[in-house]
């Protein structure tokens, strides 16, 4: 049990040293909430950036990236080590309007365009093998599953993670009032990155909870 999990258990009324429900073998719900919170915070804040070394294939425009480690969020920038130049970001429609024969045009890539959630296009494309691109990607941390795995989150965001997990716990047991209270605390942190919650300050109960 790590320090974040300890804090969560204390907040929901469990004794971390001898928990009733969330024993060390039954911490999956808490860990799922912590992982969800970290993913959401990293999505909003771009806090983790990794470089993906993509070998470029001759006569090839479009690439699909699958990450064996962290989860891909989005492509922030692309550098060609050969030319030491950053590629300009654009869209497929812009490339298509700029050059109707973009799928045939060969040369040193000058632009990249993201497509869908995990596709990347380069324009123009190399006609030879032997090049690669440094793709700087905002990524989300791996989901941790044991108490000994490292947690990739900034120290001062621990509060936000705790608030999120506690709120989700109370929502799970149907205690909306407490849940909203903790979500509003979480929103104060996430709000720094432009997150706006639609949860109301108070919930008018329509039926029995």
């Amino acid at each position: 049990m790590n320090s974040i999990e300890n804090r969560i258990l204390r907040a929901i009324g469990e004794d971390p040293s001898s928990p009733d429900v969330f024993t060390s073998s039954n911490l999956t719900p808490i860990r799922d909430s912590v992982n969800d919170a970290m993913e959401e915070l990293c999505t909003l804040s771009d806090s983790i950036v990794n470089v993906y070394k993509l070998p470029l294939i001759a006569d090839t425009n479009l690439y699909k990236m699958e990450w064996a480690g962290n989860q891909l969020c989005y492509v922030a920038s692309v550098l060609l080590p050969e030319t030491q130049k950053q590629l300009r970001a654009t869209t497929l429609s812009a490339v298509e309007k700029y050059d109707r024969r973009w799928m045939s045009t060969v040369g040193t890539p000058t632009m990249f365009f993201p497509l869908g959630v995990d596709l990347l296009g380069l324009y123009p494309m190399y006609s030879d093998e032997g090049y690669y691109a440094d793709i700087r990607c905002v990524v989300l941390p791996n989901r941790y599953e044991t108490s000994t795995e490292p947690i990739q989150i900034r120290g001062d965001w621990e509060d936000a993670v705790v608030n999120y997990a506690v709120a989700e716990y109370f929502l799970g047991v149907g205690d909306l009032e407490k849940s909203i209270r903790w979500f509003s605390e979480y929103s104060k942190y996430a709000g720094k990155f432009g997150f706006r919650t639609t949860m109301p300050d108070r919930w008018v109960t329509k039926g029995e909870i």
Binding site: P29, P55, L92, R100, G116, L140, L176, G207
Partner: protein, 360 residues
């Protein structure tokens, strides 16, 4: 990620770990509904597929309803005319049966799409190609690496009465009407075609074995005649194939489609949730829980349903931020530098050199 993992998490939220209230089938339905809704709300999935030209089909059917019982790629064999109770592979067969002189050929052949390019029969119908099975909306359709513009059939009729049989270099594609736009034909149709067997390396919806039909096998990994490289499957990288596992979509003399996909529904607990990145699935789960609390059972709870709906809305806000940031680095935009602005009064803006008062 598999559906069973999602189910475990959702059952935790709805406090029904032993499926006493919500059955697995019901949760599966709710998940499919939720991911459809999430797809409509976010619109961020894009896929790329290829259509072999001319089309290659494993089977033919007489009726559309047969398709769901057949594996592989299917083409509807001809048309069924309820008025005269005829099933015809070619329209001229109607004339033949009714005593009129046939135009060409005999009445006992089923012609595959590619045969019409090499036989001497008179072609009186178009070569229909299929969009991928999970196709929803086209973003870009290309033939031989060049864009095809969309042309509706009603406009094609006005443009060219021989729109089905006109030959030439394709510049348009015509979605087939009454078919949910799952099929299309190129206009004009091709003069000639080349046959290449892409075998197992042709991903998506043509999964042929080697040496099938009149085709030859091209080894996977060959890049000389392909213009597009694309990692298609879920295999983790190996040292083969340039360090990563690749599949190819042949683009030369074939159709390439960039499209927004329909979401593949989940049918089994071991079904993979392949459409979404793992971190996006939690937002689908929120909507799923909201729907679960709306179901008509003894755990019906509109308040909790509403609360989880709000959580889902929060998730959509996160996705909106995510989408916005993906676009924030875009520096090359196609926008007119001198955008003509029309004021709130609706007046036309004159050039600066125009006299302020016009005296005729």
């Amino acid at each position: 990620m598999k559906f069973s993992e999602v189910e475990t998490r959702v059952r935790r939220y709805i406090k029904d770990p032993d499926a006493k209230v919500w059955s697995r089938d019901l949760l599966m339905d709710l998940f499919n509904q939720a991911q459809d809704q999430f797809n409509k709300d976010t619109r961020m999935l894009v896929k790329i597929g290829g259509a072999h030209t001319p089309g290659i089909y494993d089977s033919t059917t007489a009726n559309k309803w047969e398709e769901e019982y057949i594996e592989g790629t299917v083409r509807e064999f001809g048309e069924y005319f309820e008025g005269t109770i005829h099933l015809c592979s070619f329209k001229w067969e109607v004339a033949m049966l009714r005593g009129y002189e046939p135009i060409a050929g005999d009445n006992y052949r089923v012609t595959h799409a590619w045969e019409s390019y090499i036989s001497d029969i008179t072609v009186d119908d178009w070569d229909v190609l299929r969009f991928p099975d999970d196709f929803d909306k086209p973003i870009l359709v290309m033939y031989n690496k060049k864009r095809l513009e969309r042309l509706s059939e009603s406009k094609a009729i006005k443009l060219d009465t021989k729109y089905k049989t006109r030959k030439g270099e394709p510049v348009r594609y015509i979605p087939v009407q009454n078919d949910e736009e799952r099929q299309f034909a190129m206009y004009p149709r091709l003069n000639t075609v080349t046959f290449t067997d892409y075998g197992r390396s042709f991903p998506g919806y043509y999964n042929l074995g080697p040496n099938e039909g009149m085709i030859t096998v091209v080894d996977e990994g060959t890049t000389e005649e392909y213009g597009t490289f694309y990692r298609w499957d879920d295999v983790l990288p190996t040292m083969d194939d340039y360090g990563i596992v690749v599949n190819y979509i042949p683009t030369v003399s074939n159709v390439t489609v960039v499209y927004a996909p329909r979401i593949e529904p989940v049918f089994h607990e071991d079904s993979n949730i392949a459409n979404w990145l793992d971190w996006q699935v939690k937002y689908i789960e929120r909507l799923m829980v909201s729907l679960a609390f709306s179901c008509n059972n003894n755990r019906y709870n509109p308040t909790l349903s509403g609360a989880w709906q709000q959580r889902y809305q929060d998730g959509l806000n996160v996705i909106q931020r995510y989408k916005g940031k993906r676009l924030s680095s875009i520096t090359t935009r196609l926008r007119s530098p001198s955008r003509t602005s029309v004021g709130s009064t609706g007046c036309i803006k004159f050039p600066d050199t125009y006299p302020s008062v016009y005296r005729g």
